[in-house]
Symmetry: C2
């Protein structure tokens, strides 16, 4: 990392980006994203370039309502949340645990499907960036303790050059209509479409806590 800056600090992150000429608007977005994620994880930094490029291809304005899919739960969803305003809670982010560093982004559509941009880390292009390649493959050649700074530097050097994109079509999911029903087991109400047979998920397959 940069001399005089604490490893992982916003100042070090900013210095690292300036070294590689990251544009001021993207730099500011990455600082916000890193603060939201609580640290500048490699996955969110790569994600920033992915979302930035997808937004550019869509020609989307910052205020536009967009919908997204993220093909991994690791780090990358946060780039969509902060930069494309598709959040877990506002229902415009769908996370599929496929395990690929890929996203799709689309504008609203009245139809059954929407045309979307898919941006992904291109494994062929990654070969030119050995540290990112080793990190991405979870290879023993990447040592987290000693190579973090190198990895971050290579990510900023690479920018979009490790990415590819394609046009795809995705299904549009409509809001479900629902009624509130009482679970006979716990006596609390849940939406009808979440009942599992004769009980709610908390009394069924999603029971996850015990009272103490």
């Amino acid at each position: 990392m940069q001399a005089g800056h604490e490893d992982g600090s916003p100042e070090a992150l900013e210095a690292g980006m300036k070294k590689h000429g990251i544009s001021p608007p993207l730099l500011q977005q990455i600082l916000r994203l890193s603060a939201f994620h609580t640290y500048p994880a490699p996955g969110v930094l790569i994600g920033a370039f992915m979302v930035d490029w997808a937004l550019e291809q869509l020609g989307a304005s910052p205020e536009q309502k967009l919908y997204s899919v993220c093909e991994t739960p690791k780090c990358l969803p946060d780039a969509l949340q902060v930069m494309a305003r598709c959040t877990t809670g506002n229902n415009r982010l769908r996370v599929l645990p496929i395990g690929k560093f890929a996203i799709t982004l689309n504008a609203p559509s009245e139809g059954e499907t929407a045309d979307a941009v898919r941006v992904f880390v291109d494994l062929e292009k990654l070969k030119k960036f050995p540290v990112i390649d080793a990190w991405y493959a979870n290879s023993p050649a990447y040592d987290k303790r000693t190579m973090k700074g190198q990895l971050q530097d290579e990510i900023f050097r690479a920018g979009r050059s490790i990415l590819s994109s394609e046009r795809v079509r995705v299904a549009v999911t409509k809001k479900k209509k629902w009624q509130s029903v009482t679970c006979p087991c716990c006596g609390e109400t849940v939406p009808d479409y979440l009942i599992e047979g004769d009980r709610c998920g908390a009394c069924g397959s999603m029971n996850y806590y015990t009272r103490i």
Copy 2:
């Protein structure tokens, strides 16, 4: 909403909070949260009071690493993301589609389980707040077009008084060790634990797009 402020604007939201004496630090958090979510949805406003109370009960500092479960995907996860720094991408937020307005929050634990605080919307207590009650039950008595302002006002008036809490114990999930494997179908790599039989999720059950 307040005269002179556009319905749903940050100014109207702030005025609504000041009317009910919401503390300045919580007010600032709610403004941040509303911006992140892209609008002051009733669910995120109630969520702000839930997370604020859970943090207080845990005695957590703003910088502390916390883990959370959210029992609905609707709105509420965003309060945990913004106020407790448990995000979808940093793996400290688990969303279970149970359909209850409830969260648990806990500090890290070295053991197999962790003691957590569970905060939930208490259906008994809701009876004193007819507009929130009708909205929560998705009842026809709540008309979104005409009653939004009333609902927001009642949420700020209610604050924590519609909530209850309990101490619970939750399982601690450890990070999975993984190796990168190549899907024989698409030729791309994914973590081994995400392979579905002989192919990755994108070539299997999670296929969600067609190229155009």
